[in-house]
Structure formats: C-alpha cells, structure tokens
C-alpha cells in the first residue's frame, strides 16, 4: 500500500469513484473504506445509478447523424444572428427593427456602395478624415506599451473599453482620442499597418440591447463597416478594400463580444 492510500477518504474521492476517475491504488482504498461504510456505499451506488440513467437517456442524441445545418462548411458564411434564434419571436422582431430591413444582408454579402450611411457612420468617417491626415498629433494618447490609454478611456467614458488586438490583420495600435458625440462621448482608436494605411475604430454607446449585422458604407475612397452590439455602436473606417476591412470588423467584433462570452 502506498502512502497516498493512507489519506482519509473524502467526498472528492467518492465523486471520483462514481465517475471512474481514481487511479487503481486509490480506488482499492476507497472500495475497502466503502465496504466498512454501508450508508456511504448506498449513496455511491445511487449516484452511479443516476449517472447511468442520465447517460442512457441522453445517448441517442449523440448517436444520431448530425443535421446538415450544423456542418461547419454550411456555417462558414453564417447568417448573422446575434440573438439566439431559439429565443422568442419578440426578440427576433426587436433585432429586425434595430438592424433595419436594408441591413439584413447575410454576413459577407453586404449592401453595395451607395447605401445611405447612418449618422454615426458619418460622424466616424468625418473623424477619420480629420485625424488620419494629422502627421504630428493623430492621437491624443499614444499607445506606448503601457495601459494608460485603456485606463484613460475607461475613466473618461465611464465604461470598460476594450482595445482590440489587430496584429493578425496587420494593424498596430497607434493610440486613441475622445470625441464629442451628441450628448455623450465617443472613443476613437487608430491603427496603422506597415504601409502606413491608417484605420480607426470608433465606438460609443448605442441603442440598448440587440445586435445588428455589419453595415457597409463607402464615401469616395473611404470604406466603413458599422454594427451594434449590446448597447454599443462600432464603426471601423479605412482607405482599404471591403474584404480586408470586413476581416478587421469581424476581428474587432469577436474580441469585444468574445470577452463577454468568456471565450478565451
């Protein structure tokens, strides 16, 4: 008998025994202990029965062929459904109202150029045009590796601010600034890539609740994607092609929503 077998039997041992998670030495020790403790042995037997019944009952689901609609290939260009479709129709109706019928193109299949931009997108594009040409002071607070930028924005806006990492999309954070937006404030983060292409992420409090599709807008040479999610509105703007900007928008969206999901 090894030293570990001499440890007193605990509740955790009994659960691990039920779940078949004890190593052989420990299992022998627990079995011996259970032989001397019939009440505990009865509970363990009952827990095993519950386990078996649950498994038998739920096994058929996992043995079925999976529905075609759940194949990853069929989801690769998914309809963008922020509110789970298993939620109520009322919720779906709300989402539709927020998104607007015109915006309800599938993800990746966005309205073409000429779609009228919303006021927020116009504000974001104006801010982009104003500050992107700035050589000396494109941002108010530089991203210099410290967390000052995040702290400053969070303090000024009174809500946690996520600064997405867009390195995978080829963009480095330059810094950020605050902008007046109606009766509140908007945060604008600026990124650039190796070729000097600058990109902004504009965010501010938006319609509460719900989620919208990515909306595409183009004004001359500037492209923008906007969307709403959980009480925030976001716009990414850059002089780049639609496909690249969409990848950035998706990455930003995944990071700001991924944090809430605990999807680490």
């Amino acid at each position: 008998m090894t030293a570990s077998d001499l440890r007193p039997v605990g509740e955790d041992d009994l659960h691990a025994f039920v779940d078949g998670r004890l190593d052989p030495g420990r299992r022998t020790a627990v079995e011996a202990w259970l032989a001397a403790h019939p009440e505990a042995a009865a509970r363990v037997a009952a827990d095993r029965e519950v386990r078996d019944r649950l498994r038998v009952r739920l096994a058929p689901v996992a043995e079925e062929p999976i529905p075609a609609r759940l194949r990853i290939a069929n989801l690769a260009a998914p309809r963008r459904m922020g509110i789970p479709h298993w939620s109520t129709n009322a919720a779906a109706a709300l989402l539709l109202a927020l998104g607007g019928a015109a915006g309800w193109a599938g993800r990746g299949a966005v309205p073409g150029p000429g779609a009228p931009a919303e006021p927020m997108t116009q504000a974001a594009v104006s801010a982009f045009r104003t500050y992107v040409v700035e050589a000396a002071h494109p941002v108010e607070v530089r991203a210099d590796g410290s967390s000052d930028l995040v702290q400053w924005l969070t303090a000024r806006l009174g809500r946690p601010v996520t600064v997405p990492d867009l390195q995978a999309q080829g963009f480095r954070l330059m810094g950020g600034r605050l902008l007046p937006a109606g009766d509140g404030l908007a945060a604008m983060l600026m990124y650039d890539d190796d070729r000097g292409t600058r990109l902004t992420l504009y965010s501010r409090a938006g319609p509460s609740g719900g989620r919208g599709v990515f909306r595409y807008a183009r004004a001359d040479d500037v492209a923008a994607f906007s969307w709403i999610d959980s009480g925030m509105s976001y716009v990414v703007t850059a002089r780049t092609d639609e496909a690249r900007l969409l990848r950035v928008a998706q990455a930003v969206d995944a990071q700001v929503s991924g944090q809430r999901d605990g999807a680490r």
């Binding site: 779940d19 759940l70 194949r71 989801l75 789970p84 298993w86 605990g262 999807a263």
Partner: protein, 169 residues
C-alpha cells in the same frame, strides 16, 4: 475552413446532447448549437491555445444563459420551456419511478450543468471548472449538492444531513 471542420465537428454530437439536456427541445437545442458554432467560428481567430471542448461548451452555456435572461426580460419565464417526449420515455418511469430528466430540470442551472458535464460528458473536474469559469472546489460542492438532490428526487438512497442520517422519502 476545412481545418476548423476537422477540429470542431467531432464535438457536435456532445454539444447537441448537452443542449438537449438543457432545453429538452430538439429543435431549440439544435438552434442553440448552431448559434454556438457561429459564435465559435467568428471568435476562432482570437482563440488562445487550450482545451477546445471546454471552450465550445463554455460558449454554448453562455449563449444558453443569455437566452434565458433575455426571455425572462421579455415575458416568458424559464419555466415555460416545453418539455417534449421525443427523447423517448425513461424506461424507469414506466415502472413508476420518476423521470431522471425531470430531476435534472429541477436543479439550479449551475448544479445541472456540473452534473451533466461530469456524468454525461465525462469531463474532468478541472475541465468543468474551465467551462464554468469557477474554481474546482466550487465544481465539487455543486456536484455534491446536485447528486444529493438527484438521490432525493429519485428516492434512491439515504442522505446525510448535517451529520445525521435520515431517509429521504
């Protein structure tokens, strides 16, 4: 996208099983799984190394909880979830015993998820802790409570209450 399919699709049967146990409605469960997979595909570029199964189950559970909260906020209580029969009847139920899935449904969600992930999905306690984002000790205490309640619900065995032994009727 092929790589993604090779990694994620093997998890789909188990995700459907967990979703079905949570919702007890086949269509709704598949909607929840679809929503989970769409979320996972979008968040994939930001996923850090780690346990893929725990990551997917965590997304599913969070989407489920969000949906429950939202429904509560709108008008329908979580209790209004339909129970459906197409899982097949519990063979024990025919003998007069209670349906094990009714027992699961009667548990608080945090206990229900722990028991399902441990007993049905065969996750380690550490993996369950990762799914629920709680310490392992919390998983163990929820598991204890869930098992105690299930024994009582199914009238299976004596339960020790504060050191005393009593029969649960």
């Amino acid at each position: 996208m092929d790589d993604l399919a090779v990694l994620i699709e093997p998890q789909i049967p188990a995700l459907r099983r967990y979703a079905t146990a949570l919702l007890r409605q086949r269509e709704a469960a598949d909607d929840l799984v679809q929503d989970t997979l769409e979320r996972a595909i979008r968040a994939w570029p930001q996923r850090r190394e780690g346990d893929l199964r725990a990551w997917l189950f965590a997304i599913l559970r969070n989407r489920y909880l969000e949906g429950v909260r939202r429904r509560r906020g709108i008008e329908v209580g979580v209790e209004a979830l339909d129970t459906i029969a197409d899982l097949g009847a519990d063979p024990e139920a025919a003998l007069g015993a209670r349906d094990v899935l009714d027992g699961i449904a009667a548990l608080p969600e945090e206990q229900r998820s722990v028991l399902l992930l441990v007993a049905v999905e065969d996750m380690s306690y550490a993996e369950v802790a990762a799914v629920l984002a709680v310490p392992v000790g919390t998983v163990m205490s929820r598991l204890s409570r869930a098992r105690g309640r299930m024994r009582a619900f199914l009238d299976l065995a004596p339960t020790i209450v504060t050191g005393h032994l009593r029969r649960v009727k």
